[in-house]
Subunit: 596 residues, 2 copies
């Protein structure tokens, strides 16, 4: 079979080509027959163009075109012609022209697809995933993956021009002692032994620094066998970076420039740098979150001092017992009914709040069951501190700081979205820094590392190892965008004495540490440079770049929430002999109603 190759993509035929001959290859989006003339919208990955068949241009071509149906694959050749003014389609990028065809080859036929190949599809996602090859044909999906490809290229160009080397690390590696669940891979050659798929190349990238590669990057697949949510996938891609000799103050500006470069190259948006920074303490205090969406206000305001001695004993006793009372001001929600306020309370209780108190201000009146407990002065002080105007609603949580932050932080996010406070065109980047190095684990009665045991403490906090480790801050940082954690990283401990102190407060004996982190500690003995890095979640970044809210829109062949691929039907059963080769047996109980 012979056909002519395109000279230009459908979506790129423009007025400048009027009078010229072009060849197009693509799919039939739509076919209409108007008074013996056939109009076809031909589609390829770059867009649509109208091609016209008229017996007057070429009778044979017109006859062949008459057989074409939706999603047929065509190669057509003809002349670009300016449309008559009344025929211009301003909604179409190529709407000012059309192509008068004299030669056509039907390259392939098509059955009617399970859903139309168009944007804003209203079809169950399961169907889209089963017929993913058709779903991916839709223009919005094509745009997402063109964007993704561009973004990866932009990352690489930036990193390459900044002296980073791409180094590939193994996928078949060793199960890690801590952290999320590993995917395991049985070994045929080593009976009873297993590889693990990497949760990240953390150890390898630190070893590459020990090896002197200085600046490493990799856009790399990682695996976590965790229960999935909308923004989690069992396999995900991260932009993984590690550098030697740089301090945090060197690395962070470089990473800002990198992300700004990617945004500029992909969606043409100028991201202002430097990014604002919030300490972890400040982020939790003001937004109740370590990944705050700072596109809107409605900050958490501490009123503990104002209510400590008030007549509302619930608040007073929480403060007395070392807790805190905080409020947010839901602007313009003063008209909320008791039912509406109670619903917010139910929402808050999911985040651990025992109750959500509220005071409404509407038409000069003060509403809500707790209002009566406060003196006029107390009320006035709260109104001032929370900048209350008539029509506002104050929402209070009184509890331990963590519960207050979780509940009010979640409420703030919910109300921010519902009240339309968020400028969706905005990209609000920030760094969250000064994370605690360790936190106290009540169950284990010991400190645990907030990031990992190789995270470097701040130099000025080193003296706290002996006195109060819980006050130590880490040289760790998260990059946050619009309420999402894009990624994070840290400077790593590279000095032996610091590492030993760290293990000591984590309750690891030297033997213990060696057992768990053996070869990495060995490696660190041979001249380890100061080093640190970051990992950014590529899937999530692309999701935000594309203005989506579901990772599956930016992963070509994603898994469902039950970690299934509905198109290829993975996972699936295998032959008994395959398992035997791998020295394993299935111990699955076959039962009806097994989770799908």
């Amino acid at each position: 079979m012979e056909w002519k190759q395109r000279t230009i993509y459908c979506g790129q035929v423009s007025k400048e080509l009027v009078g010229q001959e072009v060849t197009l290859n693509g799919w039939v989006q739509k076919r209409r027959d108007l008074g013996g003339v056939i109009f076809i919208d031909l589609r390829d990955r770059e867009g649509l163009v109208q091609v016209v068949f008229n017996p007057e241009y070429n009778k044979e071509a017109w006859e062949i075109a008459d057989k074409a149906r939706s999603e047929y694959v065509l190669s057509v050749t003809g002349k670009v012609v300016e449309r008559a003014p009344e025929a211009v389609n301003p909604k179409l990028k190529t709407g000012e022209i059309e192509v008068h065809i004299h030669t056509i080859t039907i390259l392939n036929e098509a059955k009617t697809p399970a859903f139309p190949i168009e944007d804003d599809l209203d079809v169950d996602e399961q169907i889209r995933l089963k017929y993913r090859y058709l779903d991916l044909r839709r223009p919005e999906m094509q745009r997402n993956f063109i964007l993704r490809s561009k973004a990866a290229k932009a990352f690489r160009d930036f990193l390459d021009s900044n002296g980073f080397l791409e180094v590939e690390t193994p996928m078949l590696t060793k199960s890690t002692p801590e952290g999320a669940r590993d995917y395991l891979v049985p070994s045929r050659v080593h009976p009873g032994e297993f590889y693990a798929l990497p949760q990240s190349p953390q150890l390898f990238k630190q070893l590459l620094m020990v090896s002197g590669f200085e600046r490493y990057y990799q856009i790399v697949r990682c695996f976590r066998d965790e229960d999935l949510r909308a923004d989690r996938q069992p396999e995900f891609t991260q932009v993984d970076i590690e550098t030697s000799f740089l301090s945090m103050e060197d690395l962070l500006p470089m990473m800002e420039k990198m992300v700004a470069h990617v945004f500029k190259q992909t969606i043409g948006v100028d991201v202002p740098t430097p990014f604002p920074r919030l300490t972890y303490a400040e982020a939790m205090a003001r937004y109740g979150s370590d990944k705050p969406d700072v596109r809107f206000g409605m900050e958490l305001v501490d009123v503990s001092d104002l209510v400590a001695n008030s007549g509302f004993k619930v608040f007073a006793s929480v403060v007395e017992n070392g807790g805190q009372v905080k409020a947010i001001n839901a602007k313009g929600c003063g008209h909320y009914s008791r039912k509406e306020a109670d619903d917010l309370g139910k929402f808050a209780s999911r985040y651990g709040a025992k109750g959500l108190a509220w005071i409404g201000f509407k038409d000069g009146e003060v509403k809500g069951p707790i209002a009566k407990f406060f003196t006029e002065a107390e009320m006035q002080a709260m109104k001032e501190r929370l900048e209350v105007a008539d029509g506002d609603l104050l929402l209070f949580v009184a509890d331990k700081p963590k519960v207050v932050a979780d509940a009010l932080g979640a409420l703030r996010s919910k109300l921010g979205a519902e009240l339309g406070l968020i400028d969706e065109s905005k990209f609000a980047f920030l760094w969250v820094v000064d994370f605690p190095l360790v936190e106290w684990d009540e169950d284990a009665q010991r400190y645990v590392a907030l990031h990992h045991p190789f995270t470097r403490p701040k130099d000025e906090d080193l003296h706290l190892f002996e006195t109060d480790p819980s006050k130590m801050r880490a040289q760790a940082y998260d990059m946050v965008l619009n309420g999402y954690e894009l990624g994070g990283g840290s400077m790593r401990i590279f000095k032996r004495d610091v590492q030993e102190k760290m293990f000591k407060i984590l309750g690891h004996s030297p033997e213990d540490a060696r057992e768990k982190f053996g070869f990495l500690l060995d490696a660190f003995e041979y001249g380890t440079p100061p080093h640190g890095g970051i990992a950014l979640g590529l899937d999530r970044l692309i999701m935000l770049l594309a203005g989506r809210n579901n990772l599956r829109e930016v992963i070509a062949f994603p898994k469902t929430a039950s970690a299934s691929d509905l198109m290829v039907n993975a996972p699936g059963t295998v032959e008994e002999a395959q398992l035997k080769d791998l020295h394993i047996a299935s111990i699955a109980e076959k039962e009806d109603g097994e989770e799908a």
Copy 2:
């Protein structure tokens, strides 16, 4: 701890910087004390430079430098100075200058490494793999991975500028019905079911063509659980490419340009294009290999016609029974002893040859046990056809064509290397084309696909489906470099009638085919464009670019021949609870002397 960041890499300090101040970060390669002056060769990934400490420059720095030992990590600042003529080191890129240091920080100390950090190391590879982080510090290893990073970038730049989109395909997918062994991954959520790690993204890349992405690429990890050789790894990386609407005559020149771009960008070599092409038949006939090393001659020459009626009955009867007799001329080996010739025979027997006949020409005499069976005319004809000069040795194999090709092809490679016939500076690319579409499987009594069942036959051979499938040639191609298969691919079947005929000759019923290739065949019903692609083995390409002969030299953390990672000790045992979570049990018999 504070230190100064480098202003330049050690290996890049040049005469142009004389008089200027530089800061360097790096490792101590060597430290000498000459008359109270300390000379350190400081190393980073770009090379070495000599830094000098003299109490006259700065006493404190000199005192600190006195503590530095091999592989200590330093940050030093000082002035670039031209060396005295007698102190110039012409072997060192930076040998014309040195840096007089006034400030030094010892960033880290180091134990003495298990082997010296230098090129041309004579150390057991097992030790190198165990201490891979030290092995990777050696300059030749650093160069290999800088090269690898550059090569990947060059591939991407070329593909990007030719309209290819990088699309990521899943790693957790489904076990394929045929081909090499899959690595399996048990599922926690789906008891008794398994994912498989991909042997290649073949199905996904074809589906991306169905989706209309037109030009796809990915530099992607693939997995094969096969028994390993020096040039195999359980996980390997391929440059995976698929295109729509292009014919083979469009794709192959594009791929040549791509590879030429990579060679130019990485090692500065101009690769001439277009690559020569050999048909499979010709490659087998002339070189006894479908991946011939054409950097030297010593081609296989058919002498069947000359010996068919000769007095040497072994040859005559082979020809009579449909076999062939071929010879190669080992130039200058006429002096080989009977023992040496017999050793070659033993080598040939490993490739299935029942015997290796030989005739030597030395000082006007004709040697060898079979010489006497030929008439003068027969001998003369052979000498002419094989261009025999005095001092040459003819080596004959008489057998079925496949055995002749295998045995003489292997002998040719061996002798080419041993006799120094190969110009190691040369890169001899070629395409092998016109592979048979199918071959007859005696055991199964049916045809099997030589590549895979989606490989498109040549248009002019389509009529042979009904008459003689074994004569059909595929639109398939291998890219060969210096005797290595760099990769291969094919145009794929995209028309339903052709696919049905293909399945028919392979003995698959339509139900059979659907069971095996279900969703792909479904996908093909919805408007599949003509498409085809290629996959190149990146590891092997880098190996050849770097002038190495072992894949492990160009993979940062490789596996041994028994698929082990000696540094991290993978695979390894896991907790019983982990297996239980995955609904599997180990059935390994624990025995001593288990293969390591």
